[in-house]
């Protein structure tokens, strides 16, 4: 099998993994090596695929052979599909040559479980070592730790990669038992804990010894599948928050479940992936990470799903109308962040701009505030936007009208004069 064919099979098998970021690295160039990881702290997208997702890393599997039989996965052993594997040299050659042409920011290496988790991890480590040491690649590497592998191997992998990830995939233990019978919660959480502890230790080492080898300097991430099981948004979001709090994850990714197989326990094959739900979860994820919201503020037991019509921040604002209006000239940073239509950047700009003089309502648009949403929730020097009139009832309608064009549209059909009315 030639490399082109292998690349097709192993890319196709890896495409459902959502994580494709090159953020968090700040390694500068090294003499005699190619590349760095410091294009920008937020990472650098090299292309966008037809589904609108960013392509920044060469995202492939080492092999798509797998001994596990997770029901939701295309690579499960009971699936009749072509199997192949890259040799370490092929993988290194592809990475280097794509990188030199600026196609990619680095490599994202994941793998099916060949023989055993330990054996697979050893293969991955061998490939990454070849890439780093023989091909002298100094760019970004995101590697997937295989649940159930020995801690010594996770340690070695972390010294070669910039970011590690262990996918949780199913948000609850019961779902794990039914859909992924070969995996256990313990086997997934153990390497996550190890990476977190080791990462913390490494930070201390680096303070003492400047040249200590870095362990996964860009941290770790994970992925949850949305829509394959009956778990609610609230459960998923609370799990996400727990992961940020207790495991210090950099990112939690959500992947709308694309039905790849007919199975009694899974959604039928003609069910569309829940893209809007995934979108709302990402919006809430941003609120957790940057806007100092807590999961319990956004959702609760009696109200466990996001409103599909407006975004989570607007929903929160509508439920807390007593918090508003906020006066932009006096409110503190945390309060400004709670206003729909004000983000991190515009809140900072407001803070610096108002030191020069009082802000007027017309200035806010120029500062980057999205007035379509924000106008209902703020005042500037005691005044609201000209001609703005609304009641709590009409407010929801107005906000839905703002959101509507941003949502996926239903397929529209051009009406024809000559169609016979059915």
């Amino acid at each position: 099998m030639d490399v082109l064919e292998k690349l097709s099979i192993l890319t196709d098998a890896a495409k459902y993994d959502a994580a494709c970021t090159s953020s968090g690295g700040d390694r500068t160039a090294k003499k005699g090596y190619i590349g760095n990881t410091s294009a920008s702290l937020a990472g650098c997208c090299h292309s966008f695929s037809a589904d609108g997702r960013c392509v920044t890393l060469l995202k492939v599997l080492m092999t798509n052979c797998c001994v596990y039989d997770c029901k939701y996965c295309v690579n499960r052993r009971s699936n009749d599909t072509r199997r192949t594997a890259f040799t370490p040299e092929e993988l290194a050659d592809l990475t280097i040559n794509f990188y030199r042409r600026n196609y990619i920011e680095g490599l994202f290496l994941s793998s099916g479980v060949l023989r055993s988790p330990d054996y697979t991890m050893e293969l991955m480590i061998k490939s990454l070592r070849l890439l780093r040491e023989k091909y002298r690649f100094n760019g970004y590497i995101h590697a997937k730790a295989i649940p159930g592998a020995a801690p010594e191997l996770v340690e070695q992998l972390g010294l070669l990669a910039d970011r590690l990830s262990v996918n949780i995939e199913l948000p609850s233990e019961s779902a794990l038992k039914t859909l992924a019978p070969d995996k256990t919660k313990g086997a997934i959480l153990a390497p996550m804990r190890q990476i977190q502890v080791r990462n913390q230790e490494n930070k201390e080492e680096l303070v003492k010894y400047r040249h200590a080898p870095k362990f996964a300097p860009a941290g770790q991430s994970t992925q949850l599948i949305v829509g394959a099981t009956a778990d609610t948004d609230f459960q998923i979001l609370r799990l996400t928050q727990g992961l940020y709090d207790r495991y210090r994850l950099k990112r939690v990714f959500f992947s709308a479940y694309v039905p790849v197989v007919e199975h009694a326990l899974l959604p039928a094959k003609n069910v569309k992936p829940p893209l809007l739900r995934e979108h709302r979860l990402y919006q809430a994820d941003w609120l957790l990470r940057f806007y100092k919201f807590r999961a319990e503020e956004l959702l609760d037991e009696s109200n466990p799903s996001f409103d599909t019509r407006v975004d989570p921040k607007c929903s929160w604002a509508l439920a807390h109308l007593d918090f508003f209006p906020v006066e932009v000239n006096t409110a503190d940073y945390e309060t400004l962040l709670r206003v729909p239509g004000i983000g991190i950047v515009s809140a900072r700009r407001i803070l610096t701009a108002r030191r020069v003089g009082p802000l007027h309502i017309d200035d806010l648009k120029k500062l980057g505030v999205v007035m379509k949403r924000a106008q209902y929730f703020l005042t500037a020097s005691g005044r609201v936007a000209d001609g703005l009139r609304f009641t709590p009832d009409s407010l929801l309608h107005n906000l839905i009208a703002v959101e509507q064009p941003l949502l996926p549209q239903q397929d529209m059909v051009q009406l024809s004069l000559f169609d016979s009315a059915g």
């Binding site: 160039a29 003499k31 292309s47 589904d51 020069v356």
Partner: protein, 285 residues
């Protein structure tokens, strides 16, 4: 104070001299045109000759008032803002008159157009860090871009550190200039015409591999062309490997077909870097 229209040679130093002369002659500028634009005017006008020492005096003064303003001035000159010279001139005038405090307020009427244009420049440079596509031609990496702003000065340090051991060039089709890098030295030079040579076997091979990877990585069930265009506007697609027609992926039939290329001799593959005198082109700050 008399109102006046100034003409200058199009270089950054020339523009700074316009500011210098406006103060020296006690004139208020209503328009600043480049000589090459050749815009006739009915108003009183003056042609400004470039004097390096005058330009330096202006820049030193601005730096002294605020380094942030100096950065805006330099980067603002690289942007595609219509009448950028006049906007920048107004910013400098306000800076000298009122001091630097207005620079904190992005909604300030003088600052906002310049600020927005510089943000556009940064945004475009950031996107191009990812969207530039190199082709290997005889050991040299070459690429073409079509940006709206003059982004090469902003891309220089990124690509020079990333590919420090390589020899490469990036050709800016819009502004007809190119960034050359070889052996630790980088220069930006005007380059009137350039045609990329056809790929050899190896280059074509990796182009095909990349195209296949790009096509395979998309999930069919999630197709979303609007989202893709928001993130990656179509004007960048012209120079990106994954959107080229089939011919782009065919290797050149025989190596002897070299002279048939439409490239002018000596430009298609600059194996040696151009003159090592590291002075940037006159127009680049």
């Amino acid at each position: 104070m008399v109102e006046m229209v100034y003409y200058y040679d199009g270089s950054f130093d020339g523009f700074l001299c316009c500011i210098f002369e406006s103060y020296a002659n006690k004139e208020i500028l209503t328009a600043i045109y480049r000589d090459e634009d050749d815009i006739p005017t009915l108003f009183a006008s003056r042609s400004i000759s470039t004097d390096k020492s005058h330009a330096n005096r202006v820049l030193r003064k601005v730096v002294k008032c605020s380094t942030c303003a100096a950065e805006l001035l330099q980067k603002g000159f690289l942007t595609c803002l219509p009448e950028k010279e006049l906007h920048l001139y107004h910013m400098v005038v306000k800076l000298l008159k009122e001091g630097p405090s207005f620079l904190r307020n992005v909604s300030d009427d003088t600052l906002h157009p310049v600020f927005a244009a510089v943000r556009h420049l940064h945004g475009e440079a950031h996107l191009l860090k990812g969207f530039v596509r190199f082709s290997e031609l005889g050991g040299v990496l070459g690429s073409e871009i079509e940006p709206k702003n003059r982004v090469l000065p902003l891309l220089r340090s990124h690509f020079c550190t990333r590919y420090q051991g390589e020899t490469f060039f990036i050709y800016d089709k819009t502004h007809k200039e190119a960034l050359f890098y070889a052996a630790g030295r980088a220069v930006i030079r005007p380059l009137e015409d350039f045609q990329m040579a056809a790929p050899d076997e190896t280059e074509a091979h990796y182009r095909v591999l990349w195209k296949r990877f790009y096509d395979t990585i998309a999930i069919k069930e999630r197709e979303n062309p609007r989202c893709r265009m928001t993130n990656m506007p179509k004007r960048y697609w012209n120079t990106m490997t994954e959107f080229q027609s089939e011919d782009y992926f065919k290797p050149q039939s025989s190596p002897a077909a070299g002279p048939a290329l439409s490239a002018p001799d000596g430009i298609s593959v600059p194996a040696t870097p151009p003159a090592p005198g590291l002075s940037a082109p006159a127009s680049s700050p």
